[in-house]
């Protein structure tokens, strides 16, 4: 099978990856307007060149400790199922290619859990890359059930 490209980003000390086909752009941190009555990991909305785009804090979403944004922080704008969302990550600077044999199935058994967002695990240059399932991270299934 042909290789696949992933956008690499960092949270804490771990590397994560998203399928590059879902990534629109990567932006620096910009002013965010808070929106009330949303899930707690939704930080608000940003003005992305005239479009209003919701932004989520991925640290908060993945139950990591929140930390203030800095110059390395990035908003990765992803698009999935006609939904555009920005995800705030610690940093992002790389696109990598993973061949089929560099990808392992996710190690957990507990796949049906809603909070379980790992699609699969990539291995490259002694790094472990957690490929995330955007549907689950964004909680889209729950959203549409509402």
């Amino acid at each position: 099978m042909a290789s696949q490209e992933y956008v690499l980003f960092k949270l804490e000390d771990e590397y994560y990856g998203i399928d590059i086909n879902n990534v629109e752009t990567i932006e620096k941190i910009m002013p965010i307007t808070r929106v009330p009555y949303t899930q707690d990991f939704v930080k608000g909305v940003i003005n992305l060149r005239g479009n209003v785009v919701p932004v989520i804090d991925l640290r908060k979403r993945l139950n990591l400790e929140e930390k203030p944004y800095d110059d390395n922080s990035r908003i990765i704008i992803v698009q999935i199922d006609d939904i555009t969302v920005g995800m705030i990550v610690d940093s992002s600077s790389e696109v990598i290619q993973l061949n089929h044999d560099e990808i392992d199935e996710s190690p957990s058994i507990n796949i049906d859990n809603d909070d379980y967002f790992i699609e699969c695990i990539g291995k490259k240059d002694n790094r472990i890359i957690i490929i995330i399932n955007l549907h689950k991270v964004l909680n889209i299934n729950n959203l549409l059930n509402d």
Binding site: T33, V35, P36, V42, V45, G50, V52, T84
Partner: protein
């Protein structure tokens, strides 16, 4: 050849034609003798046939072809317009609509078989053919009597023609009136007519034709035309010559007797005058109609809605930039700059208005499907119902038009099914047997109001109460504490349906809550007023424009919010010591009314506890006849804002109607005051 690029145009145009046809059929039902209507329907069927034939949609083509044939017979008065025929024509219309809908979805006309309908149409024709034959025989008998025959012709012999005929007679020519019927299936009518003209001109001279030669050339005639012809041949020779041409159905010839012309008897004169008058009237009506049609076609341009949206977005951007210019501190000191910005503001406002107008469509587009629906429903339910519509010309945004149809259908069905009683019951109540449903639309400030009113039995409040309690929507205690209006509003709760029996007309499990949700998603609201045994009235209020509104910008904590100006009644300050608590709700006595006070920082969950000020700023908002005071921290000012959706991901936040981008690029949320009530 690839026809796909024409498919959109075909669909658009077909829809328009079908809409017209629907309306005309309804009118025809009430005035079956109106020839203009028939002509128009015929013309539409013909156009559809041509269009679908070109596109290769053979089912549509063959169906319209048969419709055309039947209509032709009606037009020639060979069959009378009966209820059955109109029903069949309606069925044809439905089938055609189905084909078009299928086309929209799949790009293919589908497998629906038109043959049952075609058979029906053919049967109509066959039945009438026997009548027609008799008529033809009668006509042949009449032919012997030239005088009665005269009445078959509408072509006139005016003075000039008469003079020509006189002179011709002196030279041994005879004058004939000839009426040629072409075969209804004839494909190239004008060419056929041309052959007739050519043939006749070999033996004589055509001095007049009706329609005129130009009109015949443009195929502006049905299947028959009349001419006045001078020749030395006799009648049967002419007849033979013409019948030798193919695709000629029949020919009627009568000689013009000279003595008839200059000195006709008084009686005859008045008769022809009357006839002429009537003819002139018809002609005038036709001309008027043609004029109307022409006016319409010359004035409209079909534009893809996406292009309009794009234009609208650009205007929005322009307005944002304008606001940004206004905000630049520096410019406030320079007089020239101020003037320029003011000028820019005028232009953007006009530009915005102009673009909005382009997007406006008369609500007629939604309304004109209702007469048919009401007709069908009243037949189905055995209730006699007349529908009155006013304000069809009221214009609303195109996006509203597309969305408002279903809720309105729902309300009208409700009125007819649940509201209006059966004829017997109405008689008992001393009401006219014919029930009335009226549909009114009118603009009201920045809103458009649509009312659906019936004169039926009204809403029985006790029924609602009982049903709501039995469905566990409210507790009995709560119900007892509610007033009538509040109980009526329970109708809009999900899972509520008052229909005692489920019918396929309205009791489909989805109730008025769907209507309400839909209208609210359009930024509108719906109210209901009802009086027992007098009727029910639903009032729908919709914003004229959906994209750009005037708003009041306010500060809540350190966040900026926009409040739509059209729901703001006034802005005032109140003393915080005047606020009282009634059942845990803060109220203040304001202009002798109790005004509920809503603290925006709580509602918007702004994490900022401000110390209590002595005087607080309150924005009084209204929804219908209800009011509430919103406590804000500061006022920024009035501003034109462009509404942007928060997107699918954050949909469903009730109190936020959307977001807007401010001049400095920041986003401010738009609060929907209607959701606070």
């Amino acid at each position: 050849m690839d026809m796909n690029q024409y498919l959109d145009i075909f669909i658009e145009e077909s829809k328009e034609h079908l809409q017209n046809m629907n309306q005309l059929l309804l009118e025809l039902e009430t005035s079956p003798d109106n020839l203009d209507l028939l002509n128009e329907i015929f013309r539409i069927a013909h156009t559809l046939k041509g269009m679908s034939g070109t596109m290769g949609f053979n089912k549509i083509a063959s169906l319209t072809h048969e419709m055309e044939n039947v209509l032709q017979l009606i037009r020639n008065k060979e069959i009378p317009v009966t209820e059955y025929i109109i029903d069949v024509l309606f069925e044809c219309f439905d089938t055609l609509e189905e084909y078009i809908n299928k086309l929209v979805n799949t790009g293919d006309e589908g497998d629906l078989d038109p043959s049952p309908l075609i058979t029906k149409l053919c049967n109509i024709m066959d039945n009438k053919n026997s009548v027609e034959k008799q008529k033809n025989n009668a006509a042949k008998d009449e032919e012997k009597n030239d005088k009665t025959d005269e009445d078959n012709f509408s072509i006139e012999t005016e003075d000039i023609t008469k003079n020509v005929i006189c002179k011709a007679n002196e030279q041994g020519f005879k004058a004939f009136k000839i009426k040629v019927h072409l075969n209804p299936n004839c494909m190239l009518k004008s060419a056929r007519a041309f052959i007739v003209f050519n043939t006749l001109e070999k033996f004589g001279e055509i001095i007049k034709s009706k329609p005129t030669a130009e009109e015949i050339e443009d195929e502006k005639f049905d299947t028959s035309f009349e001419i006045i012809y001078l020749t030395k041949l006799n009648k049967s020779a002419i007849e033979n010559e013409i019948l030798n041409i193919s695709e000629i159905a029949n020919v009627m010839i009568s000689q013009i007797k000279l003595e008839n012309i200059p000195k006709s008897s008084n009686k005859k004169d008045t008769e022809t005058k009357g006839l002429q008058n009537e003819f002139v009237k018809q002609e005038k009506a036709k001309n008027n109609q043609n004029k109307n049609l022409k006016l319409k076609t010359s004035k409209t341009v079909r534009v893809d809605i996406d292009r309009l949206d794009n234009l609208m977005n650009l205007v929005s951007e322009l307005i944002i930039i304008k606001t940004r210019l206004e905000d630049i501190e520096d410019s406030k000191t320079k007089q020239n700059m101020i003037e320029a910005v003011e000028y820019l503001e005028r232009i953007t406002t006009s530009l915005h208005d102009a673009v909005m107008k382009v997007r406006m469509v008369p609500i007629e587009r939604v309304f004109n499907r209702f007469p048919r629906m009401v007709r069908d429903l009243s037949k189905e339910l055995g209730k006699d119902i007349s529908l009155y519509m006013t304000g069809e010309e009221t214009e609303v945004d195109r996006t509203v038009i597309d969305e408002i149809g279903d809720p309105l259908i729902h309300l009208i069905r409700n009125s007819i099914d649940h509201g209006i009683e059966g004829p017997n019951e109405r008689r008992k109540l001393n009401k006219p047997e014919t029930g009335t449903v009226s549909l009114r639309a009118y603009p009201d400030g920045n809103n458009v109001v649509i009312e659906v009113q019936d004169d039926g039995k009204g809403i029985v409040v006790e029924d609602i109460k009982a049903k709501a309690i039995s469905r566990n929507l409210i507790t009995k205690d709560a119900a007892d504490n509610m007033n009538d209006q509040e109980l009526i509003n329970l109708l809009f709760k999900p899972g509520f349906s008052t229909a005692d029996k489920i019918s396929d007309i309205s009791g489909r499990g989805v109730g008025l809550d769907v209507v309400k949700t839909k209208i609210e998603s359009l930024g509108g609201l719906v109210e209901v007023h009802s009086e027992l045994n007098k009727g029910t009235k639903f009032i729908i209020r919709l914003p004229l424009t959906l994209a750009i509104i005037q708003a009041l910008m306010v500060m809540v904590g350190d966040e900026k919010y926009a409040l739509p100006l059209n729901s703001i009644k006034e802005i005032t300050t109140i003393k915080s010591k005047d606020i009282r608590k009634v059942q845990n709700q803060e109220v203040v006595l304001y202009r002798n009314n109790t005004l509920p006070i809503l603290r925006m920082n709580n509602i918007l969950k702004v994490n900022l506890d401000l110390e209590d000020k002595d005087e607080i700023i309150v924005v009084v908002v209204k929804k219908g006849d209800k009011m509430a005071g919103l406590v804000v921290d500061d006022l920024i000012g009035q501003q034109e804002i462009v509404i942007k959706s928060l997107g699918k991901y954050l949909s469903g936040i009730k109190i936020i109607a959307g977001a807007t981008i401010l001049g400095n690029g920041q986003i401010a949320l738009i609060v929907d005051p209607n959701s606070l009530f």
